[in-house]
Symmetry: none
Subunit: 132 residues, 4 copies
Amino acid sequence: MHLILDLDSEAPIYQQIRDRVVEAIAEGRLAAGASLPSTRQLAVDLAINFHTVNKAYDLLRREGIIRISRKSGAVVRPDAGQGPAEPQAVADWERRARTLLAEAVVRGVPREELVDRIRVALDGFGVGRGDT
Amino acid sequence: MHLILDLDSEAPIYQQIRDRVVEAIAEGRLAAGASLPSTRQLAVDLAINFHTVNKAYDLLRREGIIRISRKSGAVVRPDAGQGPAEPQAVADWERRARTLLAEAVVRGVPREELVDRIRVALDGFGVGRGDT
Amino acid sequence: MHLILDLDSEAPIYQQIRDRVVEAIAEGRLAAGASLPSTRQLAVDLAINFHTVNKAYDLLRREGIIRISRKSGAVVRPDAGQGPAEPQAVADWERRARTLLAEAVVRGVPREELVDRIRVALDGFGVGRGDT
Amino acid sequence: MHLILDLDSEAPIYQQIRDRVVEAIAEGRLAAGASLPSTRQLAVDLAINFHTVNKAYDLLRREGIIRISRKSGAVVRPDAGQGPAEPQAVADWERRARTLLAEAVVRGVPREELVDRIRVALDGFGVGRGDT
DNA sequence: GTGGTCTAGACCACT
DNA sequence: GTGGTCTAGACCACT
């Protein structure tokens, strides 16, 4: 799994790892059931502290996106994106989406362009397309 | 201007203020040219320190969303959302949107529902609709 | 005298007035001995408080750039830009110039471009050209 | 890094710190990639509050001149002064330069002396000389 | 009356 | 150990 960090960003590294993994799953680069690199391996690859990778994986586990076991390490949950989403998580997501959309509107991005950009992004995601 | 904070949220208070103001502008509750409460006043209303409000207003100013002067306090920029958006800001926005969309996809929100929710949110925004 | 203010700027209005007057003198739009508008007139033209204009004029007077008398109001000093500059003022000016140049260099403006831009600016100034 | 403040100056302390750091980078005393003192350390050295240093560093970060991380503290961006300067920033810079030059002209500094002083200042800057 | 700056100290987040 | 956030209060600058 290739994964690019932006050390200049104000976003914490563990959050960036979490975000990139989520994107990789959405894009289909990380299939359901696939293994993530070991925390130590990824830490070496990214030249960061292994506790930071640990924190990212733990976050993904708590979000129900991956499973972690001593035997098989971290794997993408086979049912990720299958069952209905948790109402609580969806409500929270919707609030964040609202803020993000409001920002674009206030910045003067035309609605058509906005919807287009969202469509393009969604088209890049192979998971959950309904034809799976 | 009514504005609700979540003190339990991990999002800093100043960021929440910024987000709520942006939403209020997008919704049309805060019109272009309208005054925001003074930093001290809003601090009293929200039962927080005025420096925190200051930081939020300063952030909005640097984003080009409000104008601040010692004379007239903070006002929504009359040209907010008028001119074309800055490419840099739009690129940054798109990255954040991608991450957010990926999360929804991975959580199993169907695409139709996703697009619907976005449409509903956009319909709640009065600004920049083109027919104004 | 036409004079444009930027109310969005963080620079105080009195400082902007002072700066614009200095530029007008350098450009030759305000000749040595010429009268400035009365403080009340300028305040009306700029839609600002007349105390603010007063403060700007007082600053120009203290800098030795204009003379103020009850009889003839504010006039550009006839000897502005004639005699040798005050060493103290020049030293102070040089420090500010150093900071400004350092900023351009750090931002990556090539030296040739830097010198060119300065030359162009100086060419727009009619006063003190030596051929007067 | 040695750095001298003028507590009597009307320029805010955080701005002075920012200006001195920019000069140190232009002079080559602070190389690309070099570390700045920690906010707390510099505050002790300058006998000021660490929040003031924080504000200066935050300003430098927003200007894209330094990078800040909790791990390695503040470092001069390796690419500072490398890529082409932002047009917006250059336009703003040019306006300030115009005002500064006008002031010198009005004060009676001869053009030759003016250009000489600028050349001398630029010669003191090791960064971006093209022959490096 | 408004925002801006500075000091001071507490506590937290990240690595 | 580093920076980030928040509170608190004083004083100043601008209009």
